[in-house]
């Protein structure tokens, strides 16, 4: 097996599962340690640097980090990473003086952003400190994009949303609310130095079935309906509601219905539970509120009586699955009528940019999705950038933020006349956590605490008003427990092969049998003959150079290392050391610093 090159930041970054899974690479273990030490402001700032909206994301993030969390492989429940982010946001003090300073003298460059969703807001957040004049055009009367118009206030209170959006707008962004851009040509003619399109994926899919037209008054498109609810244009819904689709939008629709007068809410799924798009926790929250989820029902017809919606007719489905759970075949085994007063369609969203003329050099593919470079986020027309849902279709807030960061880097390089591709690389710094002979500057002991449960507002109380936040947040005591569950995966096991005397101490002590000294072989073959099977191919194997006495290799399966430091503690020669990895992901501000110093050097 090839010797592992640990100088490549990618290797150790992958070990920090949560940070690797986070689209914006939030330094999770670092902020969890800061919370453990009671440094909430610092924890908030670590978050803000990468994900910009810690208070918002601490409530509604899609949290790809949690399924990736190592704790979930070692035991079964991951660390409550997302909820700890909220702890930092809830318990912090005023951090105004730690926000970047906005230069009084502008750099003379004007940037237009279309839409005030998380993508555009991130672009503004990254460019304002560099002296750019950023203007955001937003069709609605309030900023925030779908975070405002679609995510219900019982999940994300206005106060939290306002607070974090204001931090950006108050940098001096020229926010033009109620201004829908109708023509890209007209916008370009205004002579902006760059245009960023963060207009989202605004079109909710319709379901063209018999009866659709006749019952239109009681059939709602999910994202439009949620927007009407958010802006108080809709205040009631019928008693019996069917939600079609079982993604996250469906979950918000069914729970909103319950707060607008519905008593009997059914979510109708075409396929079995394993195929649901909604996150487990959103399903749990809906089921806790007594929403019924009905599987294997495929919509066939809207039933009309006296010119009004009366119910829906479904085909009852049966599926043949293979051993990996994939559908091989399906058939209709019967039909079923379900009566209802309203139907909400939550079956997906599409990109739509009807206001972008197709002769401006901005190309779209056959599905009307713009052609966007995956690294630079530039469209086929230089100086025009896409990010968030408008770039590659509906994703989530944290992806929109990361797109915003990358687009800001590109916009900065574009405005300085530099090639967009020559971006700064990701860098890494390692520093030992050794304090004494068996003392480490991190809590290395494995804490067997179980995941804390999020306290919820009482079921009756929460339906009283639309905007009662259901989750109460962790108490400081719960947070104090939960932080101890983090394994500090960023404190890396760093091996110096020339020091190893092959005494076996590390091999014997490792609680999860990560380490083996063995003869060389191919990675695939080695995986089968380690001290414990290395059966998770997603996780790397580390291989040392041949060791000096026997020529064997030190192999480490990263999969289940709990970063307890015992290998380093029991190693007589410090061949293993525990070193904290810190990665630097370059933002527009770093590009700017690098650019300034290049300028100084050539001057």
């Amino acid at each position: 097996m090839k010797r592992t090159d640990t100088s490549d930041p990618g290797y150790y970054h992958r070990v920090v599962d949560c940070q690797w899974a986070c689209p914006a690479h939030t330094d999770v273990p670092e902020y969890i340690r800061l919370i453990a030490q009671g440094h909430f402001n610092d924890a908030y700032m670590v978050n803000r640097e990468s994900n910009v909206f810690p208070g918002i994301l601490g409530r509604v993030c899609d949290r790809p980090c949690e399924p990736a969390c190592r704790r979930g492989r070692v035991e079964d429940k991951p660390v409550a990473i997302c909820r700890l982010k909220r702890v930092a946001a809830d318990l912090r003090d005023d951090i105004a003086d730690r926000l970047p300073r906005i230069p009084a003298a502008k750099n003379g460059k004007r940037i237009a952003c279309v839409g005030a969703g998380p993508a555009s807001l991130t672009v503004a957040n990254d460019l304002m400190p560099l002296g750019y004049a950023v203007t955001i055009f937003e069709a609605l009367e309030k900023p925030g994009g779908l975070m405002r118009s679609n995510i219900p206030s019982f999940r994300l209170p206005d106060k939290v949303l306002d607070g974090e959006i204001d931090m950006i707008v108050d940098m001096g962004v020229d926010l033009r609310l109620g201004q829908r851009i109708q023509s890209m040509r007209a916008l370009l003619d205004e002579g902006w130095d760059a245009v960023f399109i963060g207009s989202g994926a605004p079109r909710g899919k319709d379901l063209k079935l018999p009866g659709r037209e006749a019952a239109a008054a009681n059939i709602h498109i999910g994202i439009d309906w949620l927007e009407s609810v958010a802006f108080d244009h809709v205040e009631r819904i019928g008693e019996r509601v069917l939600i079609i689709g079982v993604g996250n939008t469906a979950m918000d629709c069914c729970r909103s219905s319950l707060r607008l007068g519905a008593h009997d809410v059914k979510v109708m799924a075409r396929k079995p539970r394993a195929f649901f798009k909604a996150s487990d926790w959103e399903l749990e929250d809906a089921e806790e509120e007594n929403v019924e989820i009905i599987v294997n029902h495929s919509p066939r017809e809207f039933l009309i009586e006296n010119g009004r919606l009366r119910g829906m007719l479904f085909d009852v489905m049966e599926y043949d699955l293979d051993e990996r759970g994939r559908i091989l075949d399906s058939r209709v085994t019967g039909e079923r009528t379900i009566f209802c007063d309203d139907v909400v369609l939550a079956i997906g969203q599409d990109n739509a940019c009807p206001w972008i003329e197709r002769d401006l050099g901005i190309e779209f593919d056959q599905w009307d999705v713009p052609l966007v470079d995956e690294t630079t986020f530039q469209a086929t027309r230089p100086g025009v950038f896409f990010g968030g849902d408008s770039a590659f279709g509906p994703k989530n807030i944290i992806w929109a933020v990361e797109h915003g960061h990358q687009a800001a880097v590109s916009i900065h390089r574009h405005c300085q006349g530099e090639a967009l591709e020559d971006r700064l690389p990701v860098t890494m710094n390692l520093s030992s956590r050794k304090m004494g002979i068996h003392e480490w500057a991190y809590a290395n002991d494995y804490n067997s605490a179980e995941r804390r449960l999020m306290p919820h507002v009482d079921l009756k109380e929460r339906f009283r008003k639309l905007d009662i936040e259901v989750e109460l947040g962790f108490s400081p005591e719960q947070a104090a427990y939960e932080v101890q569950r983090c394994l500090n995966c960023d404190v890396q096991t760093v091996f110096t092969d020339s020091l190893c005397i092959e005494c076996d101490a590390c091999i014997d002590i490792c609680p999860t049998d990560c380490l083996t000294m063995t003869a060389d072989g191919s990675e695939e073959e080695l995986r089968g003959r380690l001290k414990a099977p290395a059966d998770n191919p997603e996780q790397a194997l580390f291989a040392s150079a041949p060791l000096k006495y026997t020529g064997r290799l030190m192999i480490k399966d990263e999969n289940l290392c709990v970063h307890c430091g015992l290998c380093a503690e029991r190693c007589p020669t410090a061949a293993w050391d525990m070193q904290k990895s810190k990665f630097k992901f370059p933002y527009a501000v770093d590009e700017d610093e690098a650019w300034q110093s290049r300028k100084r050097q050539t001057a």
């Binding site: 002991d445 005397i501 005494c503 101490a505 014997d508 999860t512 414990a532 006495y549 709990v562 015992l566």
Partner: protein, 351 residues
Amino acid sequence: MSFMPKPRVAHPGLPRNELGLTRRDYEGGMSTLCAGCGHDSITASIIQACFELSIAPHRVAKVSGIGCSSKTPAYFLSASHGFNSVHGRMPAVATGANAANQDLHYIGVSGDGDSLSIGLGQFCHAMRRNLNMVYIIENNGVYGLTKGQFSASADVGSKAKKGERNEQPPIDPALTALTMGGTFVARSFSGDKAQLVPLIKAAMRHRGFALIDVLSPCVTFNDHEDSTKSYAFTRQHYQPAVHTDFVAPATEIMAEYEAGESIKVDLHDGSHIVLRKVSPDHDPTDRASAYAFLRKRQKAGEHVTGLLYVDGSEPDMHMLNHTVQVPLNRLEWDTLCPGSEGLGAILARYR
């Protein structure tokens, strides 16, 4: 010394043995020995062997004397019986325990100091009686616990950490065992689990005294350049003379074992050992030839390892003394206690 215990969390894919236990269930307390001490690897090998043999931990009695090595029974099989005795006196305690209950597995752990200096007499007599036990000497050439004085196993010319040269000839535990009637004589190295684990398993199944002399570097006091028991020196002079495979009862011996130089040794419980000779001039079933072979190789400066001699047919202490076959704690009271009349009769024999 580490201050935190080894976390209980384990690899979910760990295999289970016939008792449904994992290797982790055979562990003991956290070692307080120096980081990198060879003794800890031997502990790990004992754990592995007991796990693989599916031995119920409470059917084991661990006995030891005094020394770093003698501390190690605290670090394995925390669910078994144990007696950490007096310096060099472990054989006496083991003899007494075995006399009372011959059904337990006895694992004695000793050091070169404990067995070859203060305890040499006890060590020899336990072999002479063919006491049914596994006797492991964790041999590092020094008194580790008392900070590194030469022990009786130090080689001539080996230097102490501060430069002092050892001039006295060593006592070789394996040669001693061959002379004293040991019925299972092996040598190994803490850093070679592939060899050590099958040896421990075979020793556990051998009826009689099974000595394993395990070279076990003391990283703190005897791992320097001029030491002959350092990791580096041991690796360089390490000479496996026999490959030992332990084969559980009712397991077919694979055909490849039959070929060439392999010897099959039956053990009393139906299991057997398969020995594959590496050196043609060595016969591990012939005491005199094993002795001669060892002497010759020792002169050449080699650490000859493997199962050097075995004889499973010799009677053990209980057979030699015609004692009752049942552990004393399972005898009926009137069988166990002679009564005052019976006692009088016994005493009368000595008047």
